[in-house]
Amino acid sequence: MRKSWRLKDIVLMSVLGVVFGFIYLGFFGVGKVLVAILTPFGLGPIGYELIYGIWFIVSIIAAYIIRKPGVAFTAETIAAITEVLVGSTSGPALILSGMVQGLGAEIAFAVTKWKNYQPRILVFSGVSAAFISFPYHFFVSGFHAYESWLIMTMFVIRLLSGAIIAGYFGKILADQLAKTGVLNGYPIGKEIIARHEKSSTNF
C-alpha cells in the first residue's frame, strides 16, 4: 500500500482535527467539574487526569482510519491549532502540547512500522501518548509545585485514561463511523469490506 498521503487523507485529518479541537475544548469544562467534585476528597488535580485520554483520541482515530505514517501526529497538531484559534485557556503553547501528545501516539505505530492496527496497538498508542505527554506537562503546568505522591498518582491515572479513553473508545468510535460506509475509501473501510466478503464466502 502507498505510504504517501493522498489529498483526501489530509482533508480528512483536517476535518477530524477541527471537530476534535472543539470537543477537546468542551472537555476542559468537564475536567473543571470533576476537579470541583474531587477537591473535597483531597484529590482535585486528579480530575483532569481521569479524562486525559480524551485529548489523545483524534490521534488514534485518524491513524486507525488512514493507516499511514505521521497521521497520528498531524491530526493531533491540527486539533491543537484549532483549540488555539478558537481560544483556549492554555494559550499558544497548547500547539506544542498537541505536538508532543501526537508524537507520543505516533510512537506506538512507528514501532510496528505502521502495519499493525490491532486493538492492542491502539491501546498501546493511548498509553504512549500519556507516557510522553506527562513529563512535558510536568514542566509547563507547574506540577513541580505538587506533592510527589500526588504526581505519581496523576501519572498512573493518565496512563490508564490514555489506554481506555483514547485507545479503547477511539477504536469504538472509528468502528462505528466505518459502519456508516463513509470510510469505504480508506483502509479501515476496506478492511471491513474484506472481512464481510470473507464471512459471506464462508457461509
Binding site: K8, K179, G181, V182
Partner: protein
Amino acid sequence: MKNHQPIFELDSFSFSFDKHDEPSLNNVSFSLYAEEVTLLLGASGSGKSTLTLCLNGLYPEAIDGFTSGDLLYKGRSISSYPKGVINQEIGIVFQDPESQFCMVRVEDELAFVLENLSIPRSQMKQRIEHVLDIVGLSQYKKHNIHQLSGGQKQKVALASILLMDPQYLILDEPTANLDPISSIEFIETIMRIQKERRFGLLVIEHEIDDWETYAHRLIALNKKGEILLDSTPKEGFINHLQELRSNRIRVPKRYVNREIARPPSSEKENKEVIVNLKNIQFNYKNKQILNELSFLIKKGRFCAIVGENGAGKSTLLQLIAKLNKPVSGSIDFLNIPLSDWHENELYKKIGYVFQNPEHQFINQTVYDEVCFGMKLSGYSRVETERMAHQLLTDFDLLSDKWKNPFSLSGGQKRRLSVATMLHSTPDLLLFDEPTFGQDAYTISQFMRIVMQLNEKGTTIVFVTHDMDLVDSYCNHVLVMQEGNIVYNGTPKELWRRTELLERARLRIPYRLRSMNEEMTV
C-alpha cells in the same frame, strides 16, 4: 463537426472499484469532440459520475480502482500524462455546492486555481475580475463563499473552472441542488459562454428539459454501465423512448404524454382545521424572519409552501412542528395551542421529514430505525415486529433491513426517513424539500407513498421548489416572500397571477408553459 480529432476516445473501456466487483462502467466505446454539447443520461448508479472522474484522470488513481480497455485524450493514453495536466484542461462542475471549495473567500478560491497553474501574480487580479464579470458575480469578489446562495456557489465553481480555460467541460448535475430560477440562470450563463469559447461540453443531469435544446448529441448508459444509446437527442427521445424509460431515465416532458395526475379534489372538503397560525412573528439574530403571519390549514389538505431561498419557508415549517418558538403570535394544532401540547403526544401526531434524511437516523440498522418509534410508543414486541415488517415491505426496504441507514442510496434514505415517522398514523406530516437532488424515478416513487398517506387522511405540508409537483398533487399553496405570505389559495388560481409569480421568483409548471407556447405558435 466530427472532422476534428476527437478530444476523448474510449475503446472497450471498463472500470471497477474492486477487482471482484461488477464493473461500474462496462465495455464502453465512444468519442467526444470539441464544440459539441453532449447529454449523458442514466439512472442513479449507472456509472455517470465515475465516467467523469475517469475522463478527468482522477480515477482510477484516487481510489485505487481497476480499468481495462483504452481511454485516450487527444490521441494519447490518459494515464501517460503527468499528474495535473489533464485536470487543468478538463474542467468539472460538481453537484454539491457545499463541497467544491477549499478557501473561505471567493477571490481566494479563484486565486487557488491560478496558483495551481503557476500564473504570475501580476496577472491574477485582472483574470479574477474578468471571470467574475463573465459569470455575473463581480460584486461578490470579497464575499465569504459559505454565505452565498446555492446558485451563486455553482457560478463560483464555474468561474474557477473557466480560469483554467479548459478544452472540455463536464457538468455533473450542477443544478440538482438549485431552485428553478437559479437553475435556469446557471444554464443560460454556461451556454452563453460555451457559444463564445466553443469548448466541448458533457452534461449529466436528471432534469434535462432545459438542456435539451442546446444539445447536439445524447449518450445513455444502462444500469450495468453499458452504452444503451448514442444518437442525436431528437432521434433518441423519439425512437428510443421506451428503452430510455424502462432504464429509469427521465426524458424531457415534451416527449411524454403526461399521465394526468390526480385532479385536486375539492369535493371531500373537510371543514376541520388542523393548524391555525395567528400573527406569527419570528426573529433570528435580531433579524426579522417572519412578519405577522396568519393562515390556517384544513384537515386532509395537500399543501405546498413555495418561494425563493431565504423567504422563511423552513422556519415556518419548524414553527408548526414546535421546533422553534415564535416571538409573538399563537399556533394551534387540532384546536389546542402548541404550548399546551406535551412533546411526546405532539410528535405522535406530527411527523417531520428533514431535507437531509441522515439527520433523522439514530440507530445502527434500518430495522431498528423503523422499530424505534414503536418501542417508544410502548407497542408489544410481536406488534412491533409485525408493523415493522409491513412498513419495510411498503417502503421497499425489506432486503436492506440489516444495513446501516447511512449506507443506503439517496432514494432509500428518503423512504426510510418517511417510514420512521409512521409508527403511529400521524395527523400531519411536514416535509422540507423532500425531492431535492433526487432523480426522477425516486421522486415519483416517493410521491406515490405520500399520496397514499394523504388518502388515508394525513394532512401533508411540504416546502418545495418544484412547481410541477405543486401543480399535480397539491390543493393548497402558500407563497412566501421575505417573511410574508403573499399568496394563500389553490395552485390553479396561482398560475394566473403572472406578476406575483415573477415577484416571488417562481416558474410556472411545465404543463402551462407548453400550453402557452402552443398558443403563441
